[in-house]
Symmetry: C2
Subunit: 227 residues, 2 copies
Amino acid sequence: MNKKITAIIPVSEYTNAKTRLSPFLTTDERKQLLQYMLKDVVKVLKTEIDEIILISKCDEVLNDAKKLNITPLKEKGNSLNSALIYAIDHVHKTQPENTILILPSDIPLINENHINDIKNLSLTEDVIIAPSSGGGTNLLLFSNNLIQPSFGRYSFFEHKKQAKNQKIVPYIYDSFLLSLDMNIPTDLGELLLHGKDTYTYNYLEKLGVTVESIHGKTRLNVKKEKK
Amino acid sequence: MNKKITAIIPVSEYTNAKTRLSPFLTTDERKQLLQYMLKDVVKVLKTEIDEIILISKCDEVLNDAKKLNITPLKEKGNSLNSALIYAIDHVHKTQPENTILILPSDIPLINENHINDIKNLSLTEDVIIAPSSGGGTNLLLFSNNLIQPSFGRYSFFEHKKQAKNQKIVPYIYDSFLLSLDMNIPTDLGELLLHGKDTYTYNYLEKLGVTVESIHGKTRLNVKKEKK
């Protein structure tokens, strides 16, 4: 049986996003960074996933979804999780059998192998969870409403616990590249090392952002050179 | 054909190791941390790998290898890479056909699935490389001396380049858990989140090391509480 997967990408408002990358990047640069990351994620998703929905409160983000030929859905709810539940209900109204795949827009190192794996795994697995750095979830797939989205602190463990409560052993999709969401400067460093074929890389390179391996409090020193 | 794999684990001297975890951990605590991490790595390797060699300059480390029932080999050479080349030659003198698997001792989140995967992949792949955070290599497998170990800065890319120069497409083993070597406090945080079944976790817990998810310059705040 070929299960149909609907991907849902929640995107925050462009203003005040990725504040941990400021003052490293300006407000406008952070907005453009978000746009390029979304472009990378959508490009990879499109290789295997037919229906891709973007949810956001922000009209500018929803408009970008249209430009990328994915479905914009105005966010309803007071939190990320209630917005996701609304979006899932929206999908299931017309396609009650669809498997849901939730992933953020800030994981530009996602590649076609990941999506191919996930699609194949979805034939036999009811719940798939990929960890992010710091205890979060960077990819969540589930069928039959088995999981209620619980994004936020320690969400990887929340999602695992929910599966367990349903007597399901979740498939842990253990990927370094998927674990890297772009929140702090060293994340951009990993992107510069591993993401040479992404739109995000080209944008950071254009901005003069460079990375150097160091032996210090962090592993990578990420700088923005004045151009 | 069942290829035989010899694992080589290089371990630095206990003194002056893991200096980036000081003053977070004392010299003696860092030594014990290394011992518990080695114990975790060896335990997992033993599920699939028959021959495990530990190389070190340090007699105390070599003595610990004996206690763990793995083969100690006194390090020769002026650098990690020359020591590894010496160890590989040593293996190939008596077992010229053996595939070589090099991995560090500070990746306690390695699990049986990884080793099972690597063993299966080794049947069809000549070169397997797993990235570490920051551009390094946390697992390197190769047959027929195809790779000359080039650990150090950007070693993931050095090893990839060497494979390419030999017209080989290396298999990139993309694992979050394997990418986590324990060098800076946030690494210990990931271990506390994901490594509950390890000796290393129990030791850190005994020391009073705790982790908390934060929204700051890092994702995790790792503290050591006075006991």
